[in-house]
């Protein structure tokens, strides 16, 4: 029998036994019928916040991956000189570029490969045999020390090769911008969700205090400070939010794991690849939820206590 339980049907216990088993009761009652609904709402908000966090991490990885792929390669468009065949010009360009530091491989693409690249844009019929076909040299670059476009251009000029270098910087810029926007959007959703949770908790904290004014009054008259009472309320809601955060994070982790399993190494989709390590980003969610709840509940309680005068 708990020392705090009702006296009804209590087996007699000695004072010594009581004192040994005694633990301080909660000065603000632990919970009521509204707590279940509130916990559910906070859990759902935590779930969405976790999805936003997962989205931010995955979109960051996707952007980094694409950027790395583009940074590791470059394309050179070769224009033959008078009296020089296209194949010979391409071969000479490849040979010139292979000697540049940071170029792992320089490979002249055959005519049919260049045609294959153009076919989706021009159609098969338009690719007549006598159509002057630009020749391309594909470069694979050292990912740690890739040469810049200017360096490649300088090497081509030195080798007397008329060519244009595309180091994919235009695409990389777009991808980096898209990655930044994706992360910002995910962060925005995360912050909005946290604010929504804070607002719900602040409202609930006021409701809890308002429904227990008599307890608050007794605590006040017995010498409790506003900060102490607000702290009791904050701890109560922090504990609730921690449990809700745990539930929301677990659900989001299960969903993330599902995406990973269904999609293999690329996650469900290459656009948003989820890795196992990403699930670790959800670990702080319960603590964050508890922190947000504590701050919101404390602030709301302090305001209400001041209003009470």
């Amino acid at each position: 029998m708990s020392p705090r339980s009702s006296s009804a049907a209590v087996a007699p216990i000695t004072t010594a036994q009581f004192l040994k088993a005694w633990k301080p009761g909660p000065l603000i009652p632990r919970g009521d019928a509204r707590d279940g609904g509130l916990t559910f709402v906070i859990a759902v908000l935590c779930f969405f916040a976790c999805l936003a966090a997962l989205g931010a991490v995955a979109s960051d990885r996707a952007a980094r991956g694409w950027t790395a792929q583009l940074q590791d390669s470059a394309t050179v468009l070769v224009r033959p000189k008078d009296g020089e065949s296209a194949d010979a010009a391409a071969a000479r360009a490849a040979e010139t570029l292979a000697g540049v530091r940071g170029v792992s491989e320089a490979r002249a693409l055959e005519k049919d490969k260049a045609q294959a690249l153009l076919e989706p844009w021009l159609g098969k019929e338009a690719l007549a045999d006598d159509l002057p076909m630009p020749r391309l040299v594909a470069l694979e670059l050292d990912p740690d020390h890739p040469p810049g476009a200017a360096e490649l251009r300088q090497a081509l000029k030195a080798g007397d090769v008329d060519a244009s270098v595309d180091d994919h910087s235009l695409w990389i810029g777009d991808i980096v911008r898209a990655g930044v926007w994706a992360r910002a959007a995910a962060l925005g959703v995360f912050v909005l969700t946290a604010l929504a949770a804070a607002a719900v908790i602040a409202f609930a904290a006021r409701a809890v205090l308002a429904s227990r004014l008599q307890i608050v009054e007794v605590l006040h008259l017995s010498g409790a400070r506003d900060g102490y009472i607000a702290g009791l309320v904050a701890r109560r809601f922090a504990a609730m939010a921690f449990a809700a955060g745990l539930g929301g994070a677990a659900l989001a982790a299960a969903l993330g794991a599902g995406l990973r399993v269904l999609g293999g190494g690329q996650g469900l989709t290459p656009v948003l690849p989820v890795a196992w390590i990403d699930l670790a980003a959800l670990a702080p969610c319960p603590l964050l939820a508890a922190g947000v709840a504590a701050l919101a509940a404390r602030g709301a309680a302090m305001r209400l206590l001041r209003e009470m005068g």
Partner: protein, 245 residues
């Protein structure tokens, strides 16, 4: 130490201020009205010395409970000055109220026990709020509850207690923190004569240890038996003991 209240119904604020330099409690021309209603208290002036023991008597509606509320600052006077432990209660900043209230023990007429806490936790409330370690007071609380006849009900929840038991628990809570001043509003209203005498002995013992005691009661027999002086209120005004006798 004089047991006679320095009673001066006609005293001005200035007269009251010139009284004993350090009374524990001083009312000077105090009035109280709730909202725009009639005055519940009117021009009340008196001073209590440290270690004194008074009954506050008067018929129902005379303003006894309202006067006590002013002392623990549950209400503010509509006029006049109240000084407690040398501090002007009206000017006391809100952040300093908790420390002041820890020096006051209050037995409320309606008990105001916390229904979600056991009798033991209710009695221990002032000690917990004062931040004292349970190890230092656990036995004291159990002894106090035993003294007021609740030794077998340490774990009992207030809603399972009788009216008299609740009253004794409220008294135990009020005195646990060894307050400098004890205010009790009809503390023997729900107990039999034997328990009333026992509670009175507890108050007297506290008073001997230096606690100033002010008990609001309409039990004139108890007041007479105690031999303690009284402040008598009638229709919100303090009248002389002779006039109220």
């Amino acid at each position: 130490m004089s047991r006679k209240p320095r009673y001066s119904p006609q005293a001005s604020d200035a007269d009251a201020a010139r009284a004993d330099p350090e009374p524990v409690l001083r009312f000077a021309g105090v009035g109280l009205r709730y909202g725009r209603g009639e005055e519940v208290l009117e021009d009340v002036s008196f001073a209590l010395e440290a270690g004194s023991f008074y009954f506050l008597t008067g018929p129902s509606g005379a303003g006894k409970s309202s006067l006590l509320k002013l002392i623990y600052r549950a209400e503010r006077p509509s006029q006049g000055l109240i000084s407690l432990f040398g501090q002007d209660l009206s000017a006391l900043p809100r952040r300093q109220l908790p420390l002041l209230r820890r020096r006051i023990g209050v037995v409320f007429q309606d008990f105001r026990l916390l229904d979600h806490l056991s009798a033991f936790d209710n009695a221990a409330l002032p000690l917990r709020l004062a931040g004292r370690k349970p190890k230092a007071w656990k036995n004291d609380v159990a002894e106090m509850l035993a003294w007021v006849g609740l030794g077998a009900k340490l774990h009992a929840m207030p809603q399972t207690l009788s009216g008299g038991e609740k009253q004794r628990l409220a008294i135990a809570r009020a005195v646990m923190g060894q307050p400098d001043i004890l205010l009790a509003d009809e503390p023997t209203g729900n107990v039999d004569h034997e328990m009333a005498a026992r509670i009175l002995r507890l108050f007297v013992e506290l008073n001997r240890q230096g606690t100033t005691v002010l008990i609001a009661s309409h039990d004139l027999d108890l007041v007479a038996r105690s031999g303690m002086p009284e402040l008598r209120l009638e229709q919100g005004r303090l009248v002389s003991p002779e006039a109220g006798a």
